[in-house]
């Protein structure tokens, strides 16, 4: 029996068969904090899927404590899994291009979102993050639980002040 993810993965080929299964993404009502564009199958605004903070808050939340190169102490990060965000948007591709408010840009393999518990953190130690402190959204890998992530490649993929994701 095909899972939902299978349907997503083969969505292009099986589009009509899976169409009824995939929930359509509700439109963003508040200020948009994250835009998923590119190969998005369930857009809610033209070709792209927009998320406001409330939509992000309603997704299942994941929380972990990890050390990072940017803070002297281990910090707790909380937010939905990136793969959940992508699933909501019906994103399907090989590469994700992350952009930040400060015009930072980095590419990561689509696989990273599937393989790691990579979250789009919205809370730092339980509190929302201002722009001054890398907010409002921060893509964070679970560095402490998976030591192979502890190098510059994954550090650089951890984009803070995350603004948009382009699925390619």
């Amino acid at each position: 029996m095909p899972t939902r993810r299978d349907c997503l993965r083969f969505g292009l080929a099986l589009g009509p068969a899976c169409a009824g299964v995939a929930h359509a993404l509700e439109p963003a009502t508040g200020p948009v904090v994250l835009t998923v564009s590119g190969r998005v199958m369930t857009p809610n605004d033209g070709q792209q899927a927009n998320f406001d903070m409330a939509m992000i808050e309603r997704m299942p939340q994941v929380s972990f404590v990890t050390r990072t190169p940017w803070y002297g102490q281990p910090r707790r990060f909380t937010g939905p899994l990136l793969r959940e965000v992508l699933r909501r948007a019906g994103a399907q591709g090989a590469t994700l291009r992350l952009r930040a408010l400060n015009d930072y840009r980095v590419d990561m393999p689509f696989e990273d979102a599937q393989r790691y518990e990579l979250i789009v953190a919205r809370l730092l130690d339980g509190a929302p993050m201002p722009v001054r402190d890398k907010g409002p959204l921060f893509a964070v890998y679970p560095f402490d639980s998976q030591p192979e992530l502890r190098n510059a490649v994954y550090y650089s993929r951890s984009a803070w002040q995350l603004r948009s994701i382009e699925v390619r």
Partner: protein
């Protein structure tokens, strides 16, 4: 011969030893070097891991982003001051927040601050202070609810622009520092790599040295092994040489002993002639001493012959079925006079469980018992000498045990230890005058016992007598000795042969002539070896029967001469040896000399027939029809409790197959007629104390009697022959008397058997 062995390579162990620490040293160096490599690589791994985790590369990017963000803020600020454009306060606030966030990071991340400070920490502190001052004044414009006015922005714009140089410095500092760090890191990496390469090269070198040493060690081991092998080969060759030399020596000794006996008999003959030539009492006395010496010498030669045969392994035992009682009686008969002469009691005690008939070599067993008993008597001055015979159950089968116990002087432990050694004598510590003897007796006895599969052991204490135990495997015989099997009867000879017989003894000549003629063969007789050679050259013979002991050139020499003849016909004539001694080495000597076969005396129809059949096919050895019924009683009856029958029915029967009864009878009569003369000669020898002469006459009488089947006479003569040199005079006289007494008994028995048809008293 093998090449001389390199001794130094054999003792290489001494030179190899100091190499051992070298191997240890190299092994230790290998370990240390490997440890060094592991430590170096481990340290490098640690550094790399730390560097990766710290994300130091990422910080350089952050510093660059900081400058970009400053410039973006300044541009946005500039645009906000432009009256022609609408004031985008949201965007300006975003840019301001981003820049302030970055500055906060710069202040809080000590690694980052270190990166941007370059070599001058105070300058950075000053820059941060200036930034703080700016932020403190600008923050109220952006954190409040209201939108900042152009005037407020313009007031602070100068200060923001003034920060450019400081911001630029931070970026440059970081670039330089990171570049330096990178270079430093690469240098360290290079250093580590160099060290690693050096260590690896060193390791390789060590491994090579190690391998070379191991290889060398292996090669040396190989060389040593080869040296040992060649030494072993050399030793083997040397041993073979030594064995060959020893064998040659033994053969020489045996031959010499044998050869010495022949002139010795001449010497004895001359001595006896000399005695008859009217000597004074003084001269007779001297002559007796000379004869005694000769007797001693002959005993030595006989012992030497035995020893050499034993050493060369040429002495072959000839086990036959014998009646043990008879054998013991013979031993007793010979020993009793010796014991009596010293007033010693002699007891022979056979256990009832000793079987009646056993298989053993009677001559050699008797020789051992004579020796043991003679010694017991020799070293006892009073008391008793006892010979116990009993069977004994041993691990490896039943044994027969002969125990000789005496009450003599006994021996100390030192003597016992040397007892069986060559020429050792028990009297060395007994203080007694040494009796005559070679001292070889016990050695010979023990070797004989061992040859039989047994041994001789001794227990003794000085002053308490000795006990010699001779044991040998017991081989029971259920039946008494069987008469020799008769050859199958057949028609007359299909292939008459012309046979040359070289034999110097008249009686034997007559027996052989009768045997061969009865088989349908023609005979021609010669009396010595030289004549035999001449006859073979002169006539054509199908076969030569060659006695080994003849005057002039003996059988061996004659055979060699015949084989060396130029005429092919003569040189290839088959030659068969005739001899009384059945030693394996005698047979070997015959065959080596070129003889074809070997016949043991007494020659009988069956063994002669077997040889002829082997050489010429079935018909030549066949017997004519009508050989006659073998003679039985009364010839086989023992007389006067003696064990040996007067006449051996089997021998007579065998002889009668080839001789007419008349012819055989005439031979017997001739022997019996001449016997009184023999008795006279024996008596003379006894009277004149001429043991060797006695032995010679007894030997001759024994041979003739044996051929004619006159067993009792033959065994008495054998007793004389064997005891001639060591029996006391009265015992010898008794034996001679017995021989004489047996003559009329034998004659009567022969008459009763129908061998002597007419009465012909001498």
């Amino acid at each position: 011969m093998a090449a001389p062995v390199d001794r130094s390579s054999l003792t290489g162990g001494d030179t190899a030893r100091p190499r051992f620490p070298w191997l240890v040293l190299i092994a230790a160096l290998l370990c240390v070097s490997l440890l060094g490599v592991v430590l170096l690589e481990g340290r490098q791994l640690l550094r790399l891991t730390t560097s990766l985790r710290n994300g130091s590369e990422q910080r350089v990017v952050q510093v660059h982003r900081q400058q970009i963000e400053y410039l973006q803020l300044r541009e946005q600020w500039q645009r906000a001051l432009d009256d022609s454009l609408p004031l985008d306060a949201r965007m300006l606030t975003l840019r301001y927040d981003i820049w302030v966030g970055r500055m906060t990071m710069l202040r809080e991340d000590s690694a980052l601050r270190q990166l941007v400070s370059g070599d001058d920490a105070t300058a950075v502190a000053e820059t941060l202070r200036r930034i703080d001052a700016f932020v403190a004044r600008a923050d109220p414009l952006f954190t409040g609810r209201r939108t900042p006015s152009r005037a407020e922005l313009s007031a602070l714009h100068g200060e923001l622009v003034a920060l450019e140089e400081a911001m630029n410095d931070l970026a440059l500092n970081a670039a330089h520092r990171s570049s330096n760090e990178l270079t430093q890191r690469h240098l360290t990496l290079r250093q580590y790599t160099q060290l690693t390469i050096a260590l690896t090269a060193f390791l390789s070198l060590l491994v090579l040295v190690f391998a070379a040493l191991a290889l060398r060690q292996m090669r040396q081991l190989d060389q040593r092994r080869q040296a040992l092998e060649s030494l072993a080969e050399e030793l083997r060759l040397a041993r073979a040489d030594a064995d060959a030399a020893n064998q040659a020596k033994s053969a020489f000794l045996a031959n010499m002993s044998h050869e010495i006996r022949t002139p010795f008999q001449g010497l004895l003959g001359m001595l006896s002639v000399l005695r008859e030539s009217g000597l004074t009492a003084r001269q007779i006395d001297l002559l007796r001493t000379a004869t005694e010496s000769a007797d001693h010498l002959l005993a030595i030669v006989n012992d030497l012959l035995d020893i050499s045969q034993l050493e060369a392994g040429r002495l072959t035992l000839m086990p036959v079925t014998v009646e043990l009682r008879t054998l013991l009686q013979e031993v007793e008969a010979l020993m009793r006079p010796q014991a009596a002469a010293k007033q010693l009691a002699l007891h022979l005690d056979a256990d009832p469980s000793v079987p009646e008939h056993v298989v053993l070599d009677p001559t050699r067993v008797k020789q051992i018992l004579f020796n043991l008993l003679s010694n017991a008597i020799k070293y006892s001055e009073r008391g008793t000498v006892v010979l116990d015979i009993r069977p004994r159950h041993a691990d490896l089968g039943d044994e027969l045990e002969f125990v000789v116990t005496d009450t003599g002087v006994g021996m100390g432990e030192a003597t016992i230890e040397r007892l069986f050694q060559r020429f050792s004598r028990a009297d060395e510590d007994a203080g007694a005058a040494p009796p005559p003897g070679t001292g070889l007796g016990l050695e010979i006895s023990r070797n004989l016992a061992r040859l039989m599969g047994g041994d001789i052991e001794v227990t003794s204490r000085r002053g308490e007598g000795s006990r010699f135990t001779f044991r040998m495997p017991l081989q029971r015989a259920e039946k008494p000795p069987a008469p020799p099997p008769m050859p199958p009867g057949a028609g007359p000879a299909a292939q008459p042969l012309h046979v040359l017989v070289a034999e110097d003894h008249a009686t034997n000549r007559q027996v052989l002539a009768a045997l061969l003629e009865s088989m349908g063969h023609r005979t021609h007789f010669v009396a010595d070896g030289d004549e035999a050679v001449a006859a073979v050259r002169a006539q054509r013979f199908d076969l030569v029967l060659m006695d080994l002991h003849m005057p002039g050139s003996d059988g061996i020499a004659a055979t060699r001469a015949i084989r060396a003849l130029p005429e092919r016909r003569a040189a290839t004539v088959p030659i068969v040896a005739l001899t009384a001694d059945a030693y394996a080495d005698t047979r070997e000597r015959c065959l080596v000399a070129g003889m074809n076969d070997f016949l043991t005396k007494p020659v009988r129809r069956d063994n002669l027939g077997a040889v002829l059949r082997q050489l010429f096919g079935a018909a030549s050895g066949a017997a004519p029809a009508g050989g006659g019924e073998p003679l039985r009683s009364p010839l086989g009856e023992p007389a006067e409790g003696r064990t040996a029958p007067l006449i051996d029915a089997a021998t007579v029967a065998s002889a009668l197959q080839v001789l007419s009864t008349e012819r055989f009878g005439s031979l017997v009569r001739e022997f019996l007629d001449q016997a009184p003369a023999t008795v006279a000669r024996l008596r003379a020898a006894v009277r004149d104390a001429q043991p060797l002469e006695l032995r010679v006459h007894a030997h001759a009488a024994r041979g003739a009697a044996l051929n004619l089947g006159l067993t009792a006479l033959a065994s008495t003569a054998e007793g004389l022959q064997n005891g001639a040199t060591h029996l006391p005079a009265h015992e010898i006289a008794r034996l001679v008397q017995r021989f004489e007494d047996l003559l009329p008994l034998t004659r009567t028995a022969a008459q009763q058997a129908g061998l002597l048809p007419e009465m012909a008293p001498p």
